[in-house]
């Protein structure tokens, strides 16, 4: 009983050891590969808003430039910028501008982040399909999220409590929403999200909750809004009316809650990274932008 057991164990551990050794082998090979066969890897990380777009770009780009390998991951704008500051990625995706403290941390590490605007995005305010509310002003949205309005009755809806949903604080969308919607762009305004705002870790978490909860209100990038959610029309000063977000209304500046999307590089981009960023601004790459529900930037 004991002897075969021990034999098996020894065989398994030998197998395990071989596996470990082999896996170690593969990794070091992958690291060596760029040098030996001139495949250049571009590490691309950051905003979850941009991640689908960046993936689509990477796929299209690799077809025309097989000598470049693009590795795209999400995690949030703060995550991407932190990785850029720590020197672990080549391009950081961000749905907000770099903060002054991030800028100074980067400089302390000997890195100068350079900003590239790559697309535009509208933030859609979304509610459950059964919610009778169709339109809100920025002031109303601000009051809802800061906790001054707590019942849908106050904005023309049913007598229901309002459940506020938001992305986590590491999301660029969260920071943008705080600065441009809750504080209405006023730098001296110190209003915060109401403490009972639910901070959900993903866009999918927000959509899932809104789909089944008629009390909920949330916000998300226009590219992530699906058919089974209701998009609220927001009052715009320029159009003097309530405007539904779309590529058109963002482009002619009618929809008020829109922002630029960015990629940051460490220093002015060179070689492969520069070619890639130039390609992103081409009309071919910007077509992918509109296909994914974002707004292309004017040429």
């Amino acid at each position: 009983m004991v002897e075969p057991c021990g034999k098996h164990l020894r065989m398994y551990s030998l197998l395990l050891l071989v596996c470990l050794l082999l896996s170690g082998c593969r990794r070091s090979q992958a690291e060596d590969l760029p040098d030996s066969s001139s495949v250049k890897t571009i590490e691309n990380k950051g905003s979850d808003t941009i991640v689908n777009l960046a993936l689509a770009w990477a796929e299209a780009y690799q077809e025309i430039h097989p000598e470049v390998r693009l590795s795209v991951t999400g995690g949030g704008s703060g995550t991407g910028l932190a990785a850029l500051i720590n020197g672990t990625v080549d391009i950081a995706n961000a749905s907000r501008r770099i903060k002054p403290e991030e800028q100074s941390q980067a400089e302390a590490n000997g890195i100068t982040p350079v900003e590239h605007i790559i697309a535009r995005d509208a933030i859609a305010i979304i509610v459950n399909l059964d919610n009778p509310v169709n339109r809100l002003t920025i002031d109303q949205i601000s009051d809802i999220y800061s906790g001054k309005i707590n019942n849908w009755l106050e904005v023309g809806g049913e007598d229901r409590p309002i459940v506020r949903l938001s992305r986590e604080t590491n999301s660029g969308t969260h920071v943008f929403f705080l600065e441009e919607v809750i504080r209405k762009g006023d730098k001296n305004d110190k209003t915060l999200f109401s403490t009972d705002t639910l901070l959900l870790p993903s866009s999918e978490g927000i959509s899932a909750e809104i789909r089944q909860n008629p009390n909920a209100i949330g916000y998300d990038g226009l590219g992530y809004v699906t058919e089974d959610l209701k998009v609220i029309a927001v009052y715009s000063d320029t159009a003097e009316d309530f405007v539904i977000p779309s590529a058109e209304t963002v482009d002619n500046q009618d929809y008020p809650i829109a922002r630029d999307l960015y990629m940051y590089t460490a220093g002015e981009p060179t070689d492969e990274i520069k070619t890639y960023l130039n390609w992103i601004l081409s009309s071919e790459a910007q077509m992918i932008v509109s296909a994914l529900g974002f707004v292309p930037i004017a040429q």
């Binding site: 590491n170 915060l192 639910l198 959900l200």
Partner: protein, 297 residues
């Protein structure tokens, strides 16, 4: 002969090294946590550390809502999992016929292997909507939802370990009890369970440990709103736990910032909480064992 001696030498050394390394790793982890977390105590004045607002990107570092969130979810999960888990273990070990036992035990152990992300999805899509409609609260993403799912996750751990402990109680104990005229229930409650006490307690501790440390599920189903508990109704409000806070924010912070340090301080607090739980459990076992020895002598 010689080969065996050599093997024995190697094996004892290896085991010794493993034993020491476990202790050394825990020590090193604690030192690391201390080094990274203690600056927060200097950087953040105590009154604001123990305030009730957590919004780190604007320098609000009140950790009370996070501690209360973790406590309510963990206690809730314990209340769900301990009675259910123990009764299941007793059923499997003492009452169920042999064939049922052979099916149930592996099934429960398979449950233990369910990835927590999957249970989180189940929570978002099934449990949360159900709780919202059943209890008429504004949202189903609440402390109660988290406690319920964490409790379910802890049950397999508790059942598996407690059943092993009950199974290890010698048959003669039960036979003696039956011979004295004890009923089935009296045997379980007065003889088998006390005899397996330390294993059962370990089971409960492991279950609670799983509940305290669980991150992904609570992040998905508790709503993560850093609200300080005010009363029993807070059980049906969203809460933010310490683990979810660390997981959600660690990726974003810049190395060496105040926010970074306080996340490690939260890590220390978590470490201390589980240490206290373990110490209390150990002392309970120790005290009861001494009493048992006194009675026997």
């Amino acid at each position: 002969m010689r080969e065996i001696n050599w093997r024995e030498f190697a094996i004892t050394r290896l085991i010794k090294a493993c034993g020491y390394s476990a202790v050394i790793f825990v020590g090193l982890i604690f030192l690391f946590l201390l080094r990274e977390g203690s600056p927060a105590l200097v950087e953040i004045p105590l009154p604001s550390l123990f305030s009730s607002r957590w919004y780190p990107i604007e320098e609000y570092f009140g950790i009370l809502p996070l501690i209360s969130g973790t406590l309510v979810v963990t206690i809730g999960a314990t209340l769900v999992s301990v009675p259910l888990g123990l009764s299941t273990a007793i059923f499997i070990a003492e009452i169920a016929p042999r064939w049922a036992k052979e099916i149930l035990k592996p099934l429960v152990e398979v449950l233990a292997g369910l990835p927590s992300v999957m249970l989180g999805f189940l929570g978002i899509l099934v449990v949360a909507p159900f709780i919202r409609t059943a209890t008429n609260v504004p949202t189903g993403l609440t402390a109660f939802t988290g406690a319920l799912i964490l409790g379910m996750m802890a049950i397999p751990t508790i059942v598996s370990v407690a059943e092993d402990a009950l199974d290890a109680v010698p048959r003669t104990y039960r036979e003696a009890a039956h011979a004295l005229g004890a009923t089935e229930w009296q045997t379980i409650w007065r003889v088998t369970l006390p005899a397996a006490r330390s294993g059962v307690l370990t089971a409960i501790m492991l279950g609670i440990g799983r509940a305290i440390g669980e991150t992904m599920t609570v992040m998905m189903v508790t709503g993560n709103a850093p609200v300080l508990l005010t009363g029993i109704e807070s059980l049906f409000r969203p809460v933010r736990t310490m683990t979810a806070t660390i997981a959600a924010e660690m990726g974003e912070v810049a190395n060496g910032s105040v926010h970074y340090h306080i996340l490690f301080l939260i890590g220390i607090a978590l470490f201390l909480i589980s240490l206290i739980v373990n110490m209390v459990a150990a002392s309970v076992v120790f005290r009861q064992r001494k009493r048992a020895e006194r009675i026997l002598s």
